[in-house]
């Protein structure tokens, strides 16, 4: 796939570019600040943008700002945001209108090469990739007040994987159970969380996340 990369640390930018090249992807631009990122996306129209959050010009959340702008202006470009810390606000903003083709993972996750590449693939394929840590925080932040307390530990596991953007088949594989068992858990979760069955796959994640982040 064609990728535009934005990361202010030269060391990481080079490393990421080489890693992606190793995997057979094409890094069409690797930039060091938010303004260059917009220009590069405008010029190259890549399949995926991978960007850090903290980068110049202001060294605060410029990367996220541009990621949201890209989502608005070019809805078909997937965006994977790398973040230094888990910021619930960032996750909520990224997923605010739709969860297709968006990812939010911790920067450290890049060192777990397989996880990072997996997240990249999922985002490029139009689904969602959320860092397990993000999900854990979202769940733990709300667990003392809401119906999540009614979930069994198994259902919680399933929700955890689901929120990261895994399919039912992938969840079944990870939890070493049958796919039908996973489907049963998913339905039970929806019942307990008062979510309608009529929503599509990705929207249901969004619904869950918005529910968790509320």
């Amino acid at each position: 796939m064609r990728i535009v990369l934005a990361e202010d640390s030269t060391l990481l930018r080079e490393g990421l570019a080489r890693l992606l090249a190793d995997e057979g992807h094409q890094v069409v631009a690797a930039v060091a600040d938010a303004d260059q990122l917009v220009t590069a996306v405008e010029q190259h129209r890549p399949d995926v943008v991978v960007t850090d959050v903290r980068m110049p010009p202001t060294n605060t959340d410029d990367g996220l700002r541009v990621a949201l702008e890209i989502r608005r202006r070019w809805p078909d470009i997937a965006v994977l945001v790398l973040s230094q810390y888990v910021e619930k606000r960032y996750a909520a903003k990224l997923l605010a209108d739709r969860s297709e083709g968006v990812g939010y993972v911790l920067k450290d996750r890049v060192a777990q090469v397989e996880d990072f590449l997996d997240a990249l693939d999922r985002v490029a394929a139009g689904s969602t990739a959320l860092d397990p840590e993000v999900v854990r925080q979202l769940i733990s932040a709300t667990s003392h007040t809401d119906p999540l307390n009614r979930l069994t530990p198994r259902e919680r596991d399933v929700l955890h994987h689901m929120a990261q953007g895994h399919t039912n088949a992938a969840i079944a594989e990870r939890l070493h159970v049958s796919q039908s068992a996973v489907e049963k858990h998913v339905n039970a979760i929806f019942d307990k969380l008062d979510l309608t069955h009529a929503t599509g796959y990705s929207r249901r994640i969004l619904a869950i996340l918005q529910y968790l982040g509320s």
Binding site: S9, L11, V110
Partner: protein, 388 residues
């Protein structure tokens, strides 16, 4: 009952005797002060052609004047049965002015004490005349009444002189001490707030150091090893591992640098000059250190000097394009002075967060911090710290 009467007598006696003794002593010290001021004035006039000697004499005069004024405070406190006040903080001219003003209570004291002596002599003459039988009892009683009235007036006058004496000391010396204390409190309030700001700024810098330096290193390292593991070409995999190994060394160096910037723990077992020598060895710009401090200064002083030197070296290396940094540390009287000079391009910004933080740290220890960095250089940073 008898005991209480005796006690009452004692306190009444003390109440009269103490101020009287105080006033009498005040007369003597007043005389000494007039002599002191005359001598000092003559010395200053005689030395007027030699300004340096005149300044020295002036300083000595003020030093002794302070001692005398301190002693006067002590005398006043004892004669009023109060604890002695702290050493005075008033300025030189004020102290000299006070000593000159003491001429008034000393003169009045001489007058009242003299009247007391005259009264005592008259009383003795009356008593002797009565005892010798040359005075009638009625006359004796009359004289006694007149004498007692005059004695009371005299004692009242003595008390007034003592009050005047105290009032002068308070007005000229203590009010200034209070103002100085208030100023000191406001200085401390400001510097305390600044220290907190400096601490926060430093922590932020440490977080940046860890995040922008060490963490990026480790993540990049993880990526390298991940790539090596995924590589199907054994030659490429081993080349990646070699690169990763080199990166580990760099990450270790980085970690040590960050730790050193956090706190110079090496000062636990080595002196400041040795620690700075180690820093100098790692600096990209050559550093020359001269250290002339016979007695090792207190740890907080060493720590601040260390941070000032490190920040200066870092700034110079980053911005000044200098070929040499010289650090001079020497002890002068009760102060340690450090000068860091570089021959770079100058134009350092005193309002930059690093330099501001250093200035705050130095002023927090009652020191002075100045930066002289004209465009085109050279740059000099000077930090002076008190070291008791």
């Amino acid at each position: 009952m008898a005991e209480r009467a005796a006690h009452g007598r004692r306190t009444w006696l003390a109440a009269v005797a103490r101020p009287t003794a105080g006033v009498v002593l005040g007369v003597l010290t007043g005389l000494a002060e007039v002599l002191f001021l005359l001598l000092a004035g003559l010395a200053v006039i005689a030395l007027s052609p030699a300004p340096a000697a005149r300044r020295r004499t002036g300083a000595t005069t003020v030093r002794y004047a302070r001692r005398i004024a301190d002693w006067e405070q002590h005398r006043l406190a004892v004669s009023a049965s109060q604890p002695s006040p702290p050493p005075i903080q008033a300025s030189g001219p004020r102290v000299l002015g006070y000593l000159a003003a003491r001429l008034l209570p000393a003169t009045l004291g001489l007058l009242t004490a003299g009247l007391l002596v005259v009264g005592a002599v008259l009383a003795a003459i009356v008593v002797r005349a009565f005892v010798a039988g040359t005075m009638t009892a009625a006359d004796f009683l009359l004289q006694g009444l007149i004498g007692a009235a005059l004695l009371l007036v005299n004692l009242q006058a003595i008390a007034s002189v003592a009050t005047l004496d105290r009032w002068l000391a308070r007005g000229l010396l203590e009010s200034h001490t209070r103002a100085a204390l208030q100023q000191r409190i406001s200085e401390l309030t400001v510097s305390r707030a600044r220290v907190l700001t400096a601490v926060d700024a430093e922590r932020q810098r440490i977080e940046r150091d860890l995040h922008d330096g060490l963490q990026q290193h480790l993540v990049a390292l993880g990526m390298l090893l991940g790539r090596a593991r995924r590589s199907r070409d054994p030659d490429k995999a081993s080349a990646l591992v070699v690169q990763a190994h080199e990166d580990v060394q760099r990450a270790i160096d980085e970690l040590r640098d960050v730790a050193w910037r956090v706190y110079p723990s090496a000062l636990d077992h080595t002196t400041l000059d040795e620690v700075l020598t180690m820093v100098a060895q790692r600096s990209a710009t050559p550093v020359k250190i001269s250290y002339d401090v016979p007695v090792r200064p207190a740890r907080p002083v060493e720590t601040v000097l260390y941070f000032v030197a490190c920040e200066a070296i870092t700034n110079t290396t980053k911005h000044a394009r200098a070929t040499l940094i010289t650090i001079e540390i020497e002890k002068r009287d009760a102060r340690i002075e450090m000068r860091v000079r570089d021959d770079g391009t100058g134009g350092a910004d005193p309002h930059g967060s690093g330099l501001q933080g250093l200035a705050r740290r130095v002023t927090a220890l009652d020191g002075q911090f100045d930066l002289h960095s004209p465009p085109g250089g050279p740059t000099t940073i000077r930090a002076v710290l008190p070291c008791a």
